[in-house]
Symmetry: C2
Subunit: 215 residues, 2 copies
């Protein structure tokens, strides 16, 4: 009876810490995440976090896992292997668009993406084998698509808002000496990312098809 009312404060836990870290990154940017700020966000001193995560690197490992957990949706099986790979690639890029500030974390330890997306990956490999690809070619095909989309998105998300800050004299020299490159530079910018992604993905799938049993 004389004890105080139940405290509002939810106890710290690794999960609460990691979820809050991702939210801070989403809202303020990766560079703004510090142990001290994260502690403040949780109503706690920074030093308390160390009871639940080994350090900042371990915290970022947790954020990466959380991110990749979002990748896997109950992927409906596609009509064929090409459909499966297109779907996997597009869901990957959508993850980047949902968390552009955090996406850079996925550059390191990219192999964990296969565990996170294991159901989609298994379906993709099965579809490739069913179409007559041998094990090695099927493996390379899937790894190539994953590498492409991860690399593509990393650069896209890192580029955010820095289109082409070239000095005027550089642009003039370019227009004089390499006019086609100058034309290409003008086409750069966020507006062309969707088309570029689909172009590259289509080229890759076409090229992979040519390496299969029928190619």
């Amino acid at each position: 009876m004389s004890s105080p009312p139940p405290v509002e404060r939810i106890p710290l836990s690794r999960e609460r810490i990691v979820v809050t870290a991702l939210r801070v990154i989403d809202e303020r940017g990766l560079a703004q995440l510090s142990m001290r700020r994260l502690g403040a966000e949780l109503g706690v001193e920074a030093m308390s976090l160390y009871k639940h995560v080994a350090g900042k690197d371990a915290l970022l490992d947790g954020v990466r896992e959380l991110l990749l957990a979002e990748l896997e949706t109950p992927a409906a099986p596609g009509r064929d292997w090409a459909d499966d790979l297109l779907s996997l690639a597009r869901r990957y890029r959508a993850l980047g668009r949902a968390h552009p500030e955090a996406f850079g974390l996925l550059a390191r330890g990219a192999d964990r993406a296969y565990v996170a997306g294991r159901e989609s990956a298994e379906a993709g490999l099965a579809a490739l084998r069913a179409a007559g690809f041998d094990e090695e070619t099927a493996t390379y095909a899937l790894r190539t698509v994953v590498r492409f989309v991860l690399g593509f998105s990393l650069i896209e998300m890192a580029g955010e808002g820095a289109p082409a800050p070239l000095a005027q004299d550089e642009l003039d020299a370019l227009a004089r000496d390499q006019p086609m490159v100058a034309g290409l530079m003008r086409s750069l910018g966020p507006g062309s990312e969707d088309a570029l992604f689909e172009f590259g993905l289509r080229a890759l799938i076409t090229g992979i098809a040519a390496m299969g049993p029928g190619g």
Copy 2:
């Protein structure tokens, strides 16, 4: 006569600072580069650097330019557009292998790569146009290859030495539920990067060829 012997000390300059910064990154890693350490390396207090570079971000801009300047070699024209694109891609990846620690800087402001590699880029575009590709398709083809190789290398260089630190229980679950993905995981590692790169590049070129006038 009474003046001291000419000082050994070379005066600071933006170029000396940037060149030294790249050396520090190459030798000790990007995370180890600080204004204070760089000053020490140059025999100067950190604060003196601010007379020559606006800040750490401007310094890293300079390092990126220095890096990209290495990309351009007097590229002998290839036999055809596919040859030109293959050569550009391989020189890009070689740059990554030469400076794995610094390569991550190229994720941001990736468009500057076209200026740095402008001679190769112009040659590639010219070869595509000569083969009958229209301007838009030629532009997308070149941009796709550049994006692919930059993204591929970024992930490769960021991965350095972290093959697949999966826990045993994760591996067991994977072998049970997604055996093909488990097989794929075993194939990961630095030893397969060359083959993966060539596979992806070949697929991409094949797919691009199929989008050209003869496809």
